[in-house]
């Protein structure tokens, strides 16, 4: 079950402004009435992109200039709230494969890593610089370098951070841990045997 190493992700960016963007906003609950993750991409940020009548709102995610974007740039505490993996699944299925933000909620961060979506953290000032650069030139190429821990855009770059265990998992193709977890079955049984409640 070998997975590709994710050392860097390159693409165009789109700025999704705001702090505390919750996973209900990323994928509203009504679109979770499903038994597979197929088709979720269409509903990513649906209510951010549409008004109550279903008309498209003015938003970067609707702007044709950013139609080719594959990297989301956003504010602090991105992905807070519900643990729904539907959120990073929708992001991935909508064609995005990295997020650059000022910070992440814990569960979203873990879910994304497990899907091989690097979520790197930059300072508020660098986030503003990146957003402005993308705004000025939607075609600018952005590279999220997981190995070097920097975000390059055009001829510039800013540093980023990523928790070491998650960085290691991406760099070494271990971002989905199921193989490693299955391999520990004997030790799992031994640990369970020491817990009276486990039965």
């Amino acid at each position: 079950m070998s997975l590709p190493a994710i050392k860097q992700v390159t693409g165009k960016g789109v700025y999704v402004p705001g702090d505390d963007i919750d996973t209900d906003r990323i994928i509203p609950a009504r679109f979770m009435k499903c038994v597979t993750f197929d088709g979720l991409g269409e509903y990513m940020f649906y209510d951010v992109r549409h008004d109550p009548e279903g008309n498209k709102r003015e938003h970067n995610l609707n702007d044709p200039r950013f139609a080719k974007a594959s990297i989301i740039i956003s504010g602090n505490n991105f992905g807070c709230g519900s643990s729904r993996e539907h959120a990073p699944q929708a992001i991935a299925k909508a064609g995005f494969n990295a997020v650059i933000a000022e910070g992440y909620a814990e569960i979203f961060f873990g879910n994304s890593t497990q899907l091989g979506i690097p979520c790197v953290t930059v300072t508020a000032a660098d986030r503003a610089t990146l957003a402005a650069a993308v705004e000025a030139n939607p075609e600018i190429e952005i590279t999220v370098d997981v190995d070097a821990l920097e975000v390059r855009y055009g001829s510039d770059s800013v540093p980023c951070t990523l928790r070491e265990a998650n960085r290691d998992a991406l760099l070494n193709g271990r971002w989905d841990p199921i193989g490693d977890l299955l391999a520990g079955a004997d030790e799992v049984a031994a640990t369970a045997a020491k817990l009276p409640y486990f039965g």
């Binding site: 038994v35 807070c80 643990s83 508020a124 998992a169 841990p177 490693d180 977890l181 299955l182 486990f198």
Partner: protein
């Protein structure tokens, strides 16, 4: 060496270190529901895997169940497909399912404790962020995504990095009219919606010592709204008294052994914490939200903050929230007309919540033009409430008395706000669109405050309404 409960439970469940430095952590109890598990079972089938320890996973159905329709097939075909998928998955893989015909179905975080499945010293995972609720028992309980649900089904473990521990002491006496919900809203207001990122919260001090288990569950439930992936209270006599005699708890001599072991999980008095926060109980007032995050909250006697007075990094979201909520900075929340009252959810849908709500509702009427619904958190809660006649009090006052489920906390069933209705809600999230209308507006509060709003038809200070 002195250890916190978090460290003791972690150490007892740590299987081994994984190559990337994370820990393979044994999950003692796994709870599943219909929304985040079907894809996980799908992944198992794709890989030809099975459920490794089916006796350690328990299922119920809560998010999508209609609360006004018991008969299947449900009128919503998608909801019907989801309950049937869960039923089949549980049958195929040998998982216990508290189905709608068992008398035990309900919101997963209410069912686990009331069945005695949730116990001190356990690790618990569930594909739902409010899994933090179970920390009230001195368990370490994590909300997880669907791929991790798959991991737990297939291996009974998941890959985790250890959290830091912040002890939050709340000492002193709570003022009249101040409830567990106000305590946690106050904590989130003070520490922020991401203040707990990277931490487990240990709630301690005389206020939590004095709380019932149901109150502790209300507090731990909302840990995630403060960014903490889990929150817990050290187990004590209150914990053991609650659990004694519950269906899944040990009996006889095994009970005594279990209690001794459970007590040993409590944090050692001299253990070190990564951070300590002290809060004076006397500073806490009935607290409600005014914005679109649970941290955008104020004591009921204070006005909505002026944007200029807020820290720089909160101004943007405040402006956005005011626009969405149609409120002005500097306004009092008191007197804002409400359209809907929702009493229920894994935060405040337990028997004691309904009992308190009913005690203030008795002999009064829901204000004209207000739609009020009471949704018991489980069939067990519903049954006890009905035995005690609480349903009659709600119905006579003008509330709708519903079946058990998550209902209007996240509106995955037919219970939804309409248009820009303003809802006084005992749930846990006031996010934009959370209650089912993309312009719907939520004000979070305690059941006591929600009943005050119900009878006056506007956001009110329960202390004034009920002369507390």
């Amino acid at each position: 060496m002195a250890k916190s409960l978090y460290e003791k439970v972690w150490d007892a469940h740590a299987v081994r270190q994984l190559p990337n430095g994370a820990t393979q952590l044994l999950i003692g109890t796994h709870l599943i529901h219909e929304v985040t598990s079907p894809q996980a079972f799908g992944m198992l089938r794709e890989r030809g895997l099975t459920v490794k320890y089916p006796q350690r996973t328990f299922a119920t159905v809560d998010h999508i169940v209609p609360t006004d329709e018991a008969q299947e097939p449900y009128s919503d075909p998608l909801a019907d497909a989801m309950i049937k998928a869960l039923r089949k998955n549980c049958e195929d893989f040998g998982v216990t399912f508290f189905d709608t015909d068992t008398g035990k179905q309900g919101v997963v975080h209410i069912v686990g404790p009331e069945q005695g499945i949730t116990q001190p010293g356990m690790t618990i995972a569930c594909g739902d962020s409010h899994t933090s609720t179970h920390g009230a028992f001195g368990a370490i309980a994590f909300g997880v995504g669907t791929s991790q649900v798959r991991d737990v089904l297939a291996t009974q473990t998941m890959a985790m990095s250890k959290l830091k521990v912040r002890r939050i002491n709340v000492d002193g006496e709570l003022k009249k009219g101040v409830r567990a919900k106000d305590v946690i809203l106050h904590i989130i207001m003070k520490l922020g919606v991401n203040g707990g990122t990277g931490y487990a919260y240990e709630y301690a001090g005389s206020v939590f010592d004095a709380m019932t288990m149901e109150e502790r569950m209300t507090v731990c439930n909302m840990s995630i709204e403060g960014g903490a992936r889990c929150g817990y209270v050290n187990p004590d006599e209150t914990t053991f008294n609650y659990l004694k005699g519950r269906p899944y708890c040990p009996k006889g001599a095994a009970w005594d052994e279990a209690v001794e072991k459970w007590a040993g999980y409590a944090s050692d008095p001299d253990c070190e914490y990564d951070d300590v926060v002290n809060i004076d109980a006397a500073d806490i007032e009935p607290t409600i939200t005014w914005g679109v995050t649970p941290g955008q909250a104020i004591p009921i006697s204070k006005n909505i903050p002026m944007v200029v007075d807020l820290p720089e990094d909160q101004k943007g979201t405040a402006v956005e929230a005011l626009e969405y909520m149609q409120f002005n900075e500097g306004d009092s929340m008191k007197g804002k007309k409400i359209d809907v009252v929702f009493v229920g959810s894994c935060t405040n849908g337990r028997f004691s919540d309904l009992e308190e709500a009913a005690s203030y509702l008795k002999g009064k009427k829901v204000a004209e033009g207000v739609k009020a619904i009471c949704v018991p958190g489980s069939q067990v809660v519903s049954s006890i409430a009905e035995q005690k006649g609480l349903h009659k009090i709600f119905i006579e006052a003008g509330f709708e008395w519903r079946g058990a489920g998550c209902s209007m906390c996240l509106a995955m069933n037919p219970d939804k706000l309409v248009g820009d209705q303003l809802c006084a809600s005992t749930s846990n999230r006031n996010f934009k669109g959370r209650q089912g209308s993309i312009t719907g507006r939520t004000v979070l509060m305690s059941p006591l405050m929600a009943i005050a709003a119900a009878v006056t038809g506007e956001i009110s200070d329960a202390r004034e309404v009920f002369g507390l």
